[in-house]
Amino acid sequence: MWQIFHKLGSPKWFFGIASKLMPWLLWVGLSLLAAGIVWGLGFAPKDYLQGNSYRIIFIHVPAALLAQSVYMMMAVAGLVTLVWRMKLADVFVRAVAPVGAILTFLALFTGAVWGKPTWGTWWIWDARLTSMLILLFLYFGVMALGAAISDEKSSARAVAVLVLVGVVNIPIIKYSVEWWNTLHQPATFKLTEKPSMPAEMWVPLLLSVLGLYLIFGWLACLRMQTEILVREGRTRWVKELVQARGN
């Protein structure tokens, strides 16, 4: 058990596994995403209330879901960094934070554009959009702190503490934003809340969510590999690997 755990923490081992996994993650992810989007854009029936603008859901929801789960994954990695001092966990946090920020931005952007035909305005201080905006701030905070501390080890641990503090706050923020929203604008029409979605809508949605998760896995592996190469540049295995690679 501990041996496996130790192996998991070894950048060299991870590098090899990631290289093997990455093509699968990328191609399966891309095909799922493509299938979900083509189905959703061209074949899924029109929504009776929102018309065709609802077709944004097939990227809005995957981006929003993934943006939130990336923060949760970062929190788990942060815990691992603090408790077991595993280097790979910090590599993950570093590699993934900008991706999470971009996904959050995409969720916000697609939400805003979707809002225009639905609400008649680009931005509404809707509970979900507002909590996504705050999530974006949290991502920026993590990136800024990571960049500000030059020492690798203390930077890793400081970022881990910040991510954990943020994750404790996320439910509180969500709850308070929802409360604030009901205070200011009672029961507006929510973008993605449906009493019952027919299978022709949720199946492509599920496909694109799965696809984007897999593509995120690929991107995370790729960026972690880069980070490992930078950090472990002086070790023997990296030197050998660099030489062995043709181009």
């Binding site: 701030f137 500000a148 503490v161 910040l162 503090v165």
Partner: protein, 241 residues
């Protein structure tokens, strides 16, 4: 064997009780702060000035100020607490007191708690005391002013406690001030929402016990969790320098 040994070693040091140590840290922070009274006054002046900006910059109409007053006061209080956070550990960090504090046998999170409470007494409490005057200036009505003070009384300790985490994380960094705000403002949002929301509910004549209880829950949560995070962050920042 080893445990007995360490216990034996620790016993004389630990003879200063944790409560005594906390009190000593608390009193020391107050004393050193009063040596430079200007530093204590600055956040208050800032608070007053920010509140002044709104009638000048937006509108001096009574109806607007009545509606926005609680929000203005809360945002101003939040910003002035934020500005004062840099002082929380800075002096102790510069003169090495902080390293001594970390090496004490008493649990660090309790000492950090004492420091955060001292910070609140020095910045949060004066804000609460000043708030009624400014509340009258933005035309809040009788009951709202009282509720506003109550929310500030419960809310500002939360600001100090959460802020201490950020101050500890950014300790010793260049451009710590802006970074600190970036890290901490998102975490302040729930307190701000409930602080202003409670006052607005009170001005509409609704009952506010539920909201106040929730803010109390925030305070309890911050009291129990923030000192741990802040102590961990302090250890990291000190090992860095």
């Amino acid at each position: 064997m080893t445990t007995e040994f360490t216990v034996g070693l620790r016993a004389p040091e630990a003879s200063v009780g944790t409560a005594t140590a906390m009190k000593a840290v608390f009193v020391r922070d107050l004393k050193t702060a009063f040596r430079q009274p200007q530093d204590l006054l600055n956040p208050l002046l800032f608070f007053v000035m920010v509140v002044t900006l709104f009638p000048l910059g937006v509108s001096p109409e009574v109806s607007f100020l009545q509606q926005a007053g609680s929000g203005i006061l809360w945002v101003a209080a939040l910003l002035s607490v934020l500005l004062s956070l840099d002082h929380l550990y800075r002096h102790d960090f510069d003169d090495g007191t902080l390293e001594q504090l970390v090496l004490q046998p008493q649990p660090l999170f309790l000492l950090v708690l004492a420091k955060s409470l001292a910070h609140w007494v020095l910045t949060g409490l004066p804000l609460v005391l000043l708030a009624p005057v400014l509340g009258v200036m933005v035309h809040l009505e009788g009951n709202s002013v009282a509720v506003l003070c109550l929310t500030l009384l419960i809310g500002t300790p939360v600001l100090s406690l959460i802020g201490s985490i950020g101050a500890a994380l950014t300790l010793g960094l260049r451009s710590a001030g802006v970074l600190l705000s970036l890290l901490i403002i998102p975490l302040y949002i729930p307190v701000l929402i409930f602080g202003t929301g409670t006052v607005m509910a009170a001005s509409e004549g609704a009952s506010v016990e539920g909201q106040l209880a929730l803010m109390g829950a925030f305070l309890v949560l911050a009291l129990t969790l923030a000192p741990f995070a802040s102590a961990a962050a302090l250890r990291i920042s000190l090992s860095n320098s």
